[in-house]
Each structure stands twice: as C-alpha cells, then as structure tokens.
C-alpha cells in the first residue's frame, strides 16, 4: 500500500523531479504569464459566441431560411458540435498552458513542454554550463504587463533555453545570475 502511494505521488506531482541530482533543491517553478491564459480564454469565448451571432444574422438577413422544417434542427446540431469542439480546443490550450513549465533548482534549469497530444519534451541545462542570461520584453502588452522572454545560453552558442512569455523576466534573470554565481562559488571553494 505504501509503495502504491509513493508511486502515485511520484507520478502525479508536478513539483517532483523524476531524476534529482544529489542535494538538489527546487527554487521555483515557472509557468507562462497568467495574461497568456486570459488572452486564450477571451479568444475562445469569442469563438463560442459565434453561433449566437450567426443565428441572429440568419434571422435578420434570411428569415425565410428558418421556416424550412429541417433547417433549425441542423443549425442546432451544428452549433452544438461546434461549441463542444471549441470547448475542447480551449481545454487543450489551457492544459498546454498548465503543463508547460520551467523548473529552476539550485543546480540546473529544467524545461518541460507538451508537444502535441502525447509528446512531452524535457530539456535541462546545468548552471556550470551557462554563459549568459538575457531578458527581453518586446511589444506593447509585454511592456505594460511586465512579461517577456528569458534566454539562457551556454558557451556553445547553439545551445539556448527559452523561458517564453513569463512574468517578470528581469527578476528571473537576476535569480538565475545569482544561482550561477552561488554555484561557481561552491564549485571553486576548497572542500
């Protein structure tokens, strides 16, 4: 029973590292900015309202169409399927939002992304390999709402890790710089 419970915990915990390093501690877990989720929700709510707009437009522009005996049932069934489909897309969009995370530990950064229905990509970068950390907020909304990207790069210029559309990118950059500095001090100190 205990083993089952442990397995259950390991499987389900978002904040559990499947393969932790010795003495590794999680500093923070970062999602995209909440504005990104709100923007997606507003977009899909507008899509959900579309059948009502279409029905009103048909009633105004083509009133005789509604008098056809089978037209309203077909319209209703189409609208129901459409609403269920858009609702499903909203769900998948929010699941992706919820499951795309960046875990910062005291030793590395772990980038976890959902790609498609079943694919899940996990990348990691250790602090002793990081060369540079930059933050950027491009555009009106990122500037006003303080969200943007953080780019982490190794000495090998081809390896980059992106924190996309995260809140307070400057704060994340500062946190990473501090953790890098701490890691270098620990590594260079005599044991």
């Amino acid at each position: 029973m205990v083993q089952v419970q442990i397995y259950f915990n390991n499987m389900l915990s978002l904040y559990h590292l499947a393969d932790p390093l010795p003495n590794e501690k999680i500093i923070t877990v970062i999602h995209r900015d909440v504005f990104i989720a709100i923007r997606r929700i507003i977009f899909f709510i507008l899509l959900l309202l579309l059948p009502i707009i279409v029905f009103v437009m048909i009633n105004i522009l083509f009133p005789s169409l509604v008098q056809i005996p089978w037209f309203f049932p077909v319209l209703l069934i189409t609208a129901s399927a459409y609403v269920l489909f858009v609702w499903l897309l909203l769900f998948f969009s929010l699941v992706d939002y919820e499951l795309d995370i960046w875990i910062i530990t005291d030793q590395r950064i772990i980038d976890v992304r959902q790609e498609g229905f079943f694919a899940r990509a996990i990348a990691e970068m250790r602090f002793n390999r990081i060369q540079d950390v930059t933050s950027e907020a491009k555009g009106l909304w990122p500037t006003l709402l303080h969200y943007g990207n953080v780019i982490v790069q190794t000495a090998n210029d081809t390896n980059k890790l992106y924190f996309e559309q995260v809140a307070n990118p400057e704060h994340i950059r500062d946190t990473l710089m501090k953790l890098m500095s701490d890691k270098k001090n620990i590594d260079s100190s005599p044991t």
């Binding site: 978002l14 005789s64 049932p73 609403v83 929010l94």
Partner: protein, 92 residues
C-alpha cells in the same frame, strides 16, 4: 433528394464519440503530467462541468425535435431565388 433528418443525429453521435475520446486524452494528460495542483484541478473541473452543461443543454434542445422529418434539399433550392427577390415564394 429526400432523406431522414435522423442521419444528422447519427453524424452528431459519431462526432460525440470522437469528442469524448479526445476529452479523455486531454484529461489523461492533465492527470498524468499535471499533478495535484490547484490549477490542474481547476482546469479539469471547469472543463468537465462545462462539458456536462453543454451536453445537457444540447440534449434538452435536441430532444424536442421530430427526427422523422424528411429533408428535401432540392425542393428548397428555390429559396435562394426567393432570397434575391427573383424567384417564386417557396412557402406559398
């Protein structure tokens, strides 16, 4: 061309099966990878609650329809002439 309206209902049922499978996949992903976080629970709960409301509302509306009605597509094509004012009135 005439056929029964119930064909649309069967197509709708087929869509519901596909939709239910995709929903299960989404819920599985959420539970498998999301963990027991508030956000994960909230998204899952809202989705399931919303789905039940949509399906129930659809059931209420669709149950009032007489599905034995025959759909006659070409009979009603004259409606398009009627819309631009050049054809005869279909419902006269």
């Amino acid at each position: 061309m005439t056929f029964s309206l119930v064909i649309f209902l069967y197509l709708y049922y087929a869509f519901l099966v596909v939709w239910a499978v995709l929903s299960l996949i989404g819920v599985y992903r959420l539970v498998r990878f999301g963990g027991r976080m508030f956000g994960t629970f909230f998204v899952g709960f809202i989705y399931l609650a919303g789905s039940m409301i949509i399906i129930f509302a659809s059931y209420i509306l669709l149950s009032q329809i007489d599905w034995t009605t025959q759909v006659s597509i070409f009979t009603h094509l004259g409606i398009f002439n009627n819309l631009n004012g050049s054809g005869s009135n279909l419902f006269q």
